[in-house]
């Protein structure tokens, strides 16, 4: 196995990745790398292909060209080392089930066919719920949770997978400030335990305070690297064009950070 490793030193290695919908490229010739143990943000304007990028990495969208490896291996061999938190709006929250049950779904893949979750799985799921501060809501029907609580349940479902690399698609979208803070702390905790956390993020204001690695995307990769090197007015302008005018002055005053 080990003789086939490709770029094993990188948590995520994406090379020449191209994805098109109806002959129009959504992602074009993407090359980027994320080292292990960082908390990385993928930012870019609407339609830049951020979600598509994650879906292509996870094999949910078929790329036209290119390849992806995670810690040296293709996704199909690394599935168990990868946790995924889809956008909250991707499911019907009126589904008849509880918060605990949703978290248990994170273990279905580990259980394999036919086997049902038992006591040890329930204990792990409860731990994950406790970690995101949702243990008191374990038996709550999921439609009775607020948006932020639903997001935490989704994160708990990924935590319980005990992965090395986590992908989160806009986890901070539509949640209140307290939940956002809690989610960021949780993700930092993962990074501090050596995990790699890759987040599609929409809020440029908070990029510098939350993340240590940054990929700026707009169909192509505009810039990538440590946040301090990459978060520049010039790079953002190249990705966002005129939309960024308001933020242009921000990097000039380094860190009067009340952000959060």
């Amino acid at each position: 196995m080990s003789d086939h490793l490709h770029e094993p030193g990188l948590a995520l290695h994406v090379e020449d990745l191209t994805v098109s919908y109806r002959a129009r490229p959504v992602l074009w010739d993407i090359d980027f790398d994320v080292p292990p143990g960082v908390m990385a943000a993928i930012v870019g304007p609407n339609g830049a292909g951020k979600s598509t990028l994650i879906k292509a990495v996870l094999g949910l969208v078929r790329p036209t060209a290119g390849h992806v490896t995670l810690l040296g291996r293709p996704y199909r061999d690394q599935r168990r080392n990868v946790g995924y938190v889809p956008q909250r709006s991707s499911v019907d929250w009126d589904f008849p089930t509880t918060a605990l049950d949703v978290v248990l779904m994170g273990l279905y893949g580990h259980l394999g066919w036919f086997r049902r979750p038992g006591r040890p799985e329930i204990a792990r799921a409860r731990n994950a719920l406790a970690e995101v501060g949702m243990i008191d809501f374990a038996d709550r029907q999921i439609s009775q949770l607020s948006g932020g609580q639903q997001q935490r349940v989704f994160i708990a479902r990924a935590l319980v997978q005990d992965a090395d690399i986590y992908f989160l698609d806009e986890p901070m979208a539509g949640v209140d400030a307290t939940t956002e803070k809690a989610i960021v702390n949780l993700l930092r905790g993962l990074r501090d335990r050596g995990k790699t956390v890759i987040v599609v993020h929409h809020d440029l204001q908070t990029v510098r305070s939350y993340f240590d690695w940054l990929v700026i995307l707009n169909v192509r990769v505009i810039a990538q690297g440590p946040v301090s090197d990459v978060y520049t007015a010039e790079n953002l302008k190249r990705a966002y064009g005129g939309q960024i005018a308001l933020l242009e002055t921000a990097p000039a005053h380094p860190a009067p950070t009340q952000a959060g």
Binding site: L58, Y84, F95, T97, T98, M105, G106, Y108, W113, F114
Partner: protein
């Protein structure tokens, strides 16, 4: 009644109706939760050309051939729906509509062709449109029973896989499950349920058997497992009660009666289910309105006491009525029962008067603090 149950035709109908209720309740739950309520409608209408082709190939009203034809046509329609939604820009509802009309039109053409050849009249294929439960034989029951048992065992074995694919198919894929195969299995099983229901309720009303038990069950529970069991129970209840009514009353056909029975269960569920039902919601709203009224009356009493500089001020009921422009007697009595106001006399007047109790004053000062009161 016992004499009825001893009749073997009626036994057959009862068992068949129960089997149909069980399989359509269980599989319908998944279809409804996957927002494919009309899948049953499409697949049952799509069975008609299969029934006709089965008849033509066998050259007679040969049940196994007809049911095999129905299943094949249903399966083909199911694959067509999946293919259309995956490979074109059409959404599921459009795909269901197209497949339903194409297959059913083809079925009607074949049916009229068979009838015009003269063999059709004695074949009686049109009974498959609305079902003819009395024609069910013991041998048919074995087939229906085997299909139902097979479907239930499959759902039990693949319970967590079906649940995951129904709730979050994308996550199911990242968990390594073959989502397309599981979705095809769920869809194909609906085609099997249609085969079970063909003789009982027919192709046209079969849709109700897929949708209605699941919709009724969803009203009563927030757990998938409870919902599926309850849907099967509702299906069995409707099936058997429809069968019994048609056995006791002459000239009423079983299939439509079963559909009416399950519709009645849906209606009751929509009206009465504790959390989602319309009547409980209306009662909660009425209780809320009453409480609001009581709070306003309490506020008026407090205001009068302050105006008069007398915490024990006794307000005449007619004056409170006049202030609110409506009768306040009911609200005052309710407040008195909660110990917030007390009736009083104010000589020489003989009319009813009310004053705030200490508890009433406390409630006005801190309206959100309620000690021992239920809710």
């Amino acid at each position: 009644m016992l004499a009825l149950l001893a009749d073997s035709t009626i036994q057959n109908v009862l068992v068949g109706a129960a089997l149909l209720g069980a399989i359509s309740g269980v599989l319908g739950s998944f279809a409804v939760l996957r927002r494919q309520s009309l899948l049953g409608d499409t697949l049952s209408h799509a069975a008609l050309p299969g029934i006709c082709i089965g008849f033509l190939l066998a050259g007679a009203r040969d049940m196994p051939a007809i049911l095999a034809g129905a299943l094949a046509a249903g399966a083909l329609a199911a694959l067509a729906i999946i293919g259309i939604t995956r490979h074109t820009r059409l959404k599921t509802d459009a795909a269901l509509g197209i497949v339903l009309s194409v297959f059913f039109a083809l079925g009607v053409v074949l049916l009229t062709f068979i009838q015009s050849t003269g063999t059709g009249t004695q074949a009686g294929l049109e009974t498959f449109l609305f079902g003819q439960a009395a024609a069910i034989l013991r041998a048919d029951l074995y087939l229906m029973g085997a299909i139902t048992l097979g479907a239930l065992v499959l759902v039990a074995l693949l319970w967590k896989e079906f649940k995951l694919v129904t709730f979050d198919p994308v996550f199911a894929r990242t968990s390594g499950f073959p989502v397309l195969a599981l979705e095809i299995a769920l869809t194909m099983m609906i085609a099997l349920a249609v085969v079970v229901g063909l003789q009982m309720v027919g192709v046209i009303l079969m849709a109700a058997m897929i949708v209605a038990p699941a919709v009724a069950a969803r009203q009563w529970t927030d757990r998938l497992s409870v919902m599926v069991v309850l849907a099967a129970g509702f299906g069995i209840l409707a099936g058997t009660s429809g069968a019994i009514v048609s056995a006791t009353a002459r000239g009423l056909s079983t299939g439509p009666l079963i559909v009416l029975a399950i519709s009645a269960i849906v209606l009751v569920s929509l009206l009465l289910a504790p959390r989602n039902g319309l009547i409980p919601a209306w009662l909660r709203q009425r209780a809320g309105r009453r409480e609001l009224h009581e709070t306003l009356v309490l506020g008026t009493l407090s205001h009068l006491a302050v105006e008069h500089g007398d915490p024990d001020y006794r307000a005449e009921q007619a004056m409170i009525d006049a202030y609110h422009g409506t009768r306040t007697h009911q609200a005052l009595e309710a407040l008195a029962q909660k110990g917030l106001v007390a009736p009083a006399r104010h000589a020489p007047e003989t009319t009813p008067h009310w004053r705030l109790t200490d508890k009433g004053h406390a409630r006005v000062a801190h309206p959100t603090e309620r000690e021992d009161e239920p809710q």
